[in-house]
Symmetry: C2
Subunit: 385 residues, 2 copies
């Protein structure tokens, strides 16, 4: 699958690449908005095109339960069903089924879990995961992995990792869809040794791409970056690297600098629906009453529909009045903010100026976060004096 | 204000006209989507332009309570606040304040009512209503009227009507905004005599346009059409006629045939958010399980974004999964359906074929409603045998 991915330029560890699929190309670094149930919440395909999104992630677990894999097949596959003619990655369903309140039993064969919709039991093996993903018809499928929660000892983390490796072989053995890439998932928690072992084992199986799973689960941020950096230095240079579930603006920029190509995260749209909007000076809550009369866009430098058309005061009003439009406009802005970060990263990697771009972005974005924290502390102290 | 409205063609009672405002022209018959709190629910201005909407209605009562008239003024008026640079009509707030659970007291001076947001008392006179509407800056303002509920005897209906006339004078006396038209509201319940008296009284005061209020409140449909027809035959031919709160597809077509130029109604977007979608063969509920696998648009003949992009099966899925996108896509379709009815009406009036268009549309739209009712009855009988 050397045709799948090409690296055009590197800048320190950061890479500018192109992922080629039968539904079009994806310039990397790329961010995948999450279309959990076959829809990016509050956002239509026309918005995604305008935002500059090139690839989406869909959740196999959710689609299997509703509308059902068979319905998506009858409707011509995910792309036709969603009216999204561009690249899609489906996850394996593993992460959702392993969520503690759903999982009933893990055996070597697979996972028995309870539907969050009707409570019914379902069984999910590496083979069913691949089969469902083949029917959904995405451009990239993921192997079924076992993701150990953060905070366990080494023994259960190793057990989950070893099973992940055995399941990866089973997924690769049965995967048989022309034009659909299959990515492995490196596990191993926050242990450098286990991570190296996991990467080595999976690399020997020659997958089309490698994901880093099991991070951003509560471990210290420095640990996240340490493991991501290790992966960036060891995973194959000619294959795409995908960091699962990471998507805050500062984490994205840090991890591009550590050699990651693809990201997914529901956070940008989730916080948007709660009124949290990204700016170069950190995240702001548009519901705050100080925005009641703010007659300017969220971000002057942003070219999204929301910033070009509406004041912060109007967005504040929409959130206060619980108008449905609020969720779309806020989601458009946060997604465009993240997509622009990807565009700027790609350009600066091509120009060899990524490090300067990164350092400048992070100092502005985080300094203000710190200021906000200080201001909040100040306020609290004044109240409690 | 002869420049405000021009009639280009008539076909029996139906009229094709043009309403000219400082924010652009409105071709009539026209339908105004309702932007209650300064936003058409689930729909942005870009959608409204694509749909072909030329004028919106905003509710003064809601905007006064939130975000407040003063904030809208500071943001440059309603058009700037909403990023809707086209014509707007504001209602007087009367209808909302008279709603039984809010109204505390009506006197000759005005209405004392309770806010539905925080329960605080507010007082609303003809003068405050006009003042607020002047500040909001819409192209068309409405006089404060008293709308008697359906089912009262003649005496309270006459009382409300007489007060409406006295308030209309006070509104006209104080109204003083260049470029903002002021429409009167004919009341009089379902009595032909009172309606004639109300129309005569208000016509003698020479308003810029005339609305018909107090209908579609539970009276028999034949009564609605009888009163609307009477108004269509008596209201000035050179002034716009606006039927308040009417907006089902069949009522719109009937009332265009009776001489109405402008309509508003929240129903098309409200039923859309509940999964009720207009088709030429009547309204369908897309949540019905028979649509689970329907791999075709809601309406093949519709040119809206929803019909051009998505199957009924996908819409069914979005509603079942409670995805926010469902509400936007359904609202786009229903609004476009109604706007297309207006376009077809205008064209057929110009061609002198409105009566044939109306009869054909109504026979299809209503026949299927009847079939649906028969099918439902059939089903009920089978169950209860």
């Amino acid at each position: 699958m050397s045709a799948l991915f090409q690296v055009q330029a590197t800048d320190c560890q950061a890479r500018k690449g192109t992922l080629s699929t039968s539904h079009g190309q994806v310039e990397t670094p790329a961010f995948m908005p999450v279309a959990t149930q076959g829809s990016v919440k509050a956002i239509a395909p026309d918005d995604l095109k305008t935002i500059g999104t090139s690839i989406l992630l869909c959740n196999t677990y959710h689609l299997m339960l509703r509308p059902g894999i068979e319905i998506v097949r009858e409707m011509g596959g995910l792309q036709a069903f969603m009216s999204w003619p561009s690249p899609i990655l489906t996850d394996s369903g593993g992460f959702q089924t392993f969520s503690l309140d759903r999982m009933k039993k893990v055996t070597e064969e697979g996972v028995l879990f309870r539907s969050h919709i009707d409570g019914r039991n379902h069984f999910w093996s590496p083979e069913t995961s691949v089969e469902y993903q083949e029917v959904l018809g995405a451009d990239i499928a993921m192997v079924l992995d076992e993701c150990a929660p953060y905070g366990l000892g080494e023994s259960p983390v190793r057990e989950a990792m070893d099973r992940t490796h055995r399941w990866a072989i089973r997924c690769k053995m049965i995967h048989n869809k022309q034009g659909q890439a299959l990515f492995a998932v490196v596990q191993g928690g926050i242990s450098q040794e286990l991570r190296l072992e996991s990467a080595d084992t999976l690399m020997s199986m020659d997958f089309d791409g490698y994901a880093v799973g099991g991070l951003s689960l509560g471990e210290p941020k420095a640990k996240t970056y340490e493991i991501v950096g290790l992966m960036g230095s060891i995973l194959p240079r000619d294959k795409p690297r995908y960091l699962m579930g990471v998507g805050s603006p500062d984490d994205l920029i840090e991890c591009i600098g550590l050699g990651i190509d693809i990201f997914d995260c529901a956070m940008p749209t989730r916080v948007a629906r709660n009124g949290g909007l990204f700016t170069n000076l950190g995240r702001v809550s548009v519901k705050n009453s100080r925005f009641r009369k703010e007659d300017k866009p969220i971000d002057w430098s942003c070219d999204c529909y929301t910033c070009k058309s509406f004041s912060v005061a109007y967005l504040h009003h929409l959130f206060k009045a619980k108008e449905l439009l609020a969720y779309r406009l806020a989601s458009i802005h946060n997604l465009r903010f993240v997509v622009r970060l990807m565009e700027h990263s790609r350009n600066s990697i091509l120009e060899g100026t990524f490090t300067a771009f990164r350092d400048n972005f992070l100092s502005e974005y985080r300094a203000t976060d710190e200021n906000v924290r200080l201001a909040q502390k100040e306020k609290w102290l004044r109240r409690h004096r």
